[in-house]
């Protein structure tokens, strides 16, 4: 299904010449600007609200620039709300899941790309569909099992739970990539007497280095954004991740919106920076293989 339409993301546009003279430049730029305002305004709102005082986020009418610019919210979440701990928890879980996921995906992805065996088709179909499993479907049994095996509030519990979506994701991307590497390369090594493991390690893996990086970034981002499992499998600060922490600033009666937005900004900015840097490399994985990037 991922191989449906071979295409290149940056091929010369088919429509640009054909439709050039229908719309004036002014009209196009105006539409583009309008779309950008709608798209970016909410993101602007995160930043600007995080730089207000709590009082000002509750004042009517709303202000579009803070009357008093302040970093109080950031200071508060880091100094008194233990935010650094949640950041590092999220980092530990996301990095561990990703490293482990990419390692297994590279090793086995190579096997899936190069060898045929019984049930391979069914297994790969399962791997593909597994990425779109409703997470709540797994949350319930994981909650049960974590209670039973003492995995609640542990890194291991979260890492196992995150593997449910990171592992299929990484495996799929790596397999797709290995399939694009010509078979002649490893066959030559095999003829020279190398074992399949040697051929993988010495010949194929070095070639797959860019894919390893891209897969790791996509895995990391996906794990970083996770909320459901973290919500259900953490009850204390010990392993609570940033996503649960951000949401926990919502109060039952009043909410300190400047804190929520500061936390949201801290949770989002690393992701946006990674995206802007690696946009091109990530295209393929982000679109789940629908687009050959």
């Amino acid at each position: 299904m991922a191989t449906t339409a071979p295409m290149t993301a940056n091929a010369p546009s088919g429509l640009s010449r054909a439709g050039k003279d229908r719309l004036g430049t002014g009209v196009k730029v105006a539409i583009a600007l309008l779309l950008l305002v709608v798209t970016l305004f909410p993101m602007y709102w995160i930043i600007i609200s995080s730089l207000k005082t709590n009082l000002e986020t509750h004042s009517v009418p709303v202000t579009f620039l803070p009357a008093v610019w302040t970093l109080d919210a950031y200071q508060e979440i880091f100094e008194r709300r233990n935010f650094a701990k949640y950041l590092s928890n999220a980092m530990v879980v996301a990095v561990a899941t990703t490293l482990w996921g990419v390692a297994v995906a590279a090793w086995s992805g190579y096997g899936f790309a190069r060898y045929d065996f019984r049930y391979k088709g069914a297994l790969m179909a399962f791997v593909l569909i597994a990425q779109s499993f409703p997470r709540i479907l797994l949350v319930i049994p994981y909650f049960e099992l974590a209670n039973r095996f003492g995995l609640k509030d542990t890194y291991l519990g979260l890492i196992l739970a995150y593997s449910t979506f990171i592992q299929p994701l990484c495996l799929w991307i790596m397999k797709e990539y290995f399939e694009q590497i010509p078979r002649e390369l490893d066959e030559a090594a095999l003829v020279d007497g190398a074992t399949p493991y040697r051929a993988f390690w010495d010949i194929i893996l070095p070639l797959a280095r860019p894919a390893l990086g891209a897969t790791a970034i996509i895995g990391f981002l996906t794990a970083w954004n996770e909320y459901e499992f973290a919500l259900v499998l953490t009850t204390t600060e010990r392993v609570r991740t940033i996503s649960v922490a951000i949401a926990s600033f919502i109060g039952e009666f009043t909410t300190e919106w400047n804190l929520v937005m500061a936390a949201a900004a801290v949770g989002t900015v690393p992701v946006v920076i990674i995206f802007l840097f690696f946009q091109r490399q990530l295209m393929h994985g982000l679109t789940g293989g629908a687009v050959k990037g």
Binding site: A11, S13, A18, L36, W257
Partner: protein, 305 residues
């Protein structure tokens, strides 16, 4: 490097290990997937056949399909099915229409197009959870900037997240804002793969822009359109964090999508049997949607050949 003669000589020695290689390579991922995915799903399926309320007693009583029967008669479960259907259809349709519009705009030439392209994709990077919190603030009746805009324009804003008639649309628009860039990304790539000469030929034949799109471009990008729709449909079908943070399913249960229903049921009543049964039905729904789309895609591909 060893010569071919030597390698031929040494080949038999390796043969045993070589034959095992596929299994050794594939096994770690298979074992891991069985452990973290298949086992819990099977466990969920197993639980769904039992009467098991976690907080009452640790005992499981086998009840067969009784949980499924109870669910199909349950008013709030049926409601959540309807809400999920409505929410998914509305969200995916809006994303598609807007996404196609933006993708078409991006195929035209105008100043600073690459910058526009990069910036328009940014919401995709906002975690759904953050998107939920952000829009909760913006929708707020008193403090929300959107309510403020409506007032400035002289209207009386609806209580976006509190009005049963508006709430589901409000939640949907939040997801549309966040995920439309995905559509843009995929559709743009598809549009750019349409060969130029086909268009020129159609233009010479006197076809106008709309006809050219309908008769030439759209059939060519249809397979990719279907894939994009599939991805977004299964993703919207499982929406949880957004609803949880925006409305918790309210007002009443007008925005209670299936994931929210399952969560509420699981962690309020702790009736794990019934909750697991509901999860299995959501799972089945996802598989059916996948199957339908994959069928359509396969048919398209067969037609293209």
């Amino acid at each position: 490097m060893r010569g071919p003669a030597l390698s031929q000589h040494s080949a038999p020695r390796f043969r045993g290990r070589v034959r095992l290689a596929p299994a050794m390579l594939v096994l770690p991922a298979v074992l891991l997937i069985v452990a973290v995915l298949i086992y819990p799903i099977a466990y969920g399926l197993y639980l769904s056949l039992f009467d098991y309320v976690m907080t009452m007693s640790p005992d499981l009583t086998f009840v067969g399909l009784s949980n499924y029967r109870k669910l199909s008669a349950d008013e709030s479960f049926r409601n959540s099915l309807a809400v999920t259907g409505q929410f998914t259809a509305m969200t995916v349709a809006l994303e598609f229409v807007i996404g196609l519009g933006i993708a078409l705009l991006l195929t035209l030439e105008f100043p600073a197009r690459p910058l526009f392209r990069a910036l328009i994709l940014l919401p995709l990077m906002v975690p759904p959870l953050v998107s939920g919190l952000l829009w909760r603030l913006m929708y707020d009746h008193e403090l929300g900037v959107l309510s403020y805009f409506v007032r400035v324009l002289g209207g009386e804003p609806p209580v976006f997240l509190g009005d049963p008639k508006v709430a589901l649309l409000a939640v949907s628009l939040t997801e549309v804002w966040r995920a439309t860039p995905f559509m843009v990304l995929v559709l743009l790539a598809a549009l750019q793969s349409v060969p130029n000469d086909l268009h020129e030929a159609a233009q010479i034949d006197g076809a106008n822009a709309f006809d050219r799109f309908r008769a030439v471009t759209f059939p060519l990008i249809l397979p990719v359109v279907l894939i994009a729709l599939l991805f977004r449909t299964v993703d919207v079908l499982r929406t949880f964090d957004l609803v949880y943070l925006l409305t918790q399913g309210g007002p009443g249960s007008t925005t209670e999508v299936l994931s929210m229903f399952i969560y509420r049921y699981g962690f309020q009543s702790f009736d794990m049997g019934l909750t697991s049964a509901a999860s299995m039905l959501l799972f089945a729904l996802t598989l059916v949607v996948c199957a339908v789309y994959l069928r359509l895609i396969a048919r398209r591909q067969a037609a293209d050949r």
